[in-house]
Symmetry: C2
Subunit: 273 residues, 2 copies
Amino acid sequence: MCELLGMSANVPTDICFSFAGLMRRGGQTGPHADGWGITFYEDKGCRAFHDPRPSAQSEVAHFVRRHPIKSRIVICHIRRANRGRIALENTHPFQRELWGRPWSFAHNGQLKGVKRWRLGAYCPIGSTDSEHAFCWLMDALRTRFAKPPSDRELAAAVAELARRLSALGVFNMLLSDGRSLFCHCSTKLAWLTRRAPFGPATLVDEDLTVNFEQETTPQDVVTVVATRPLTRDEAWTVMEPGSTVVFRQGEPVPLPRRRAPRRATQVTRDKAA
Amino acid sequence: MCELLGMSANVPTDICFSFAGLMRRGGQTGPHADGWGITFYEDKGCRAFHDPRPSAQSEVAHFVRRHPIKSRIVICHIRRANRGRIALENTHPFQRELWGRPWSFAHNGQLKGVKRWRLGAYCPIGSTDSEHAFCWLMDALRTRFAKPPSDRELAAAVAELARRLSALGVFNMLLSDGRSLFCHCSTKLAWLTRRAPFGPATLVDEDLTVNFEQETTPQDVVTVVATRPLTRDEAWTVMEPGSTVVFRQGEPVPLPRRRAPRRATQVTRDKAA
């Protein structure tokens, strides 16, 4: 299983502390040695670093860890390959443009049969089921909304599409369009919001403590999302399987009430959509 | 005017030497202080580094210079902003996916009125005329070829579309789909192929000499393309204004014979296409 890390903040914030913990899981404290990637959103743009080498030995990872890049939204992934060979093109986060926004997507889990789902405007570059699922998701949003919908409508649509994908297996996902951070938990995802009064936090994976009081202003709100809690002395919220949470400016935003689940016949039809 | 740097090679090759020269032009020996970016193709994938800071002071640039990334195709751009503010989203190379290939595009020059050209499937993220031109070009290829055409057809189509864009102003361009490096010269572009017997080369911008004989095997073929020659002791081919050259595996590939130029009425119609 891969590991995910995401961040949503109301001020440009560096993720070096959480990243330090995660990177150790890439071939050192964890078995996720098949590459890693990270996307930083800055204003309307984003930049990504990808490396098919284990994060614990990656020079690019060491660079990212040492050079704080301030961002409001971050998506990071370290990979344990199960579908698709170890290669740059199979390294998450994947990126596509829709409505003039740069979308990024990272996934852990497996989706049985997703490659049979027909695609339209977007086509995978690599061979993972994850990238296929991302292309399908982007296609579905593009088909449903010719122009960008309201944030509320978009959140509801992403949550619905994520549930459909989940039906194929395990689908823990982080997704962003540079405005919101969409998080879907199929089996494992947890989050934590840091806000004043800030205190110290200690990484589970490394003997490293940060006192956020010295690093922040009282107005800062920073949410971190991860497959497993990254710190040992903070209260993480473990997400319920099957749930979607959307963060904007560091805060969770309410989702429209979920409609009754679709019947099996409908799901079958949708699979071929 | 921005500066372009491209590479096409028949073996994974690092571009550190040429990059060293170019980076000095970003705020030190040249006025191109408004950001820079570089895309490396590795197999089917690619990775890019972007920084809105001047390349001469960019820590990311220093990292790229010190850590040789071996690649068969590279596109690099240092920017002097004339359209679009200095921001990550306006930093070349731009990227889009078409036919499951990751396309990258970098441009120098200005295209008057290109933003009035209608777009379809691709939409700019930033505000440059360059990214608009790239989206138009990708749209035109997608409309013309539902599936990837032969390399020969594709080269002819890119050359034709580049000529249409050139009619709006200055359009020196590097473009790649990970297989070919497409180079269009509107005013300024030069290239050089290094092959056995290799000799020494000295950068124009920095007191740095490399003896390529020690760095290469006799089978290596490496073409470097740049706005201005980067070395003082090698014979660069200066491209003819209005010409397109396509490189694959380091070698120029012949383009199909150019058709007679379109008449003015047709060009006018095409502009609104």
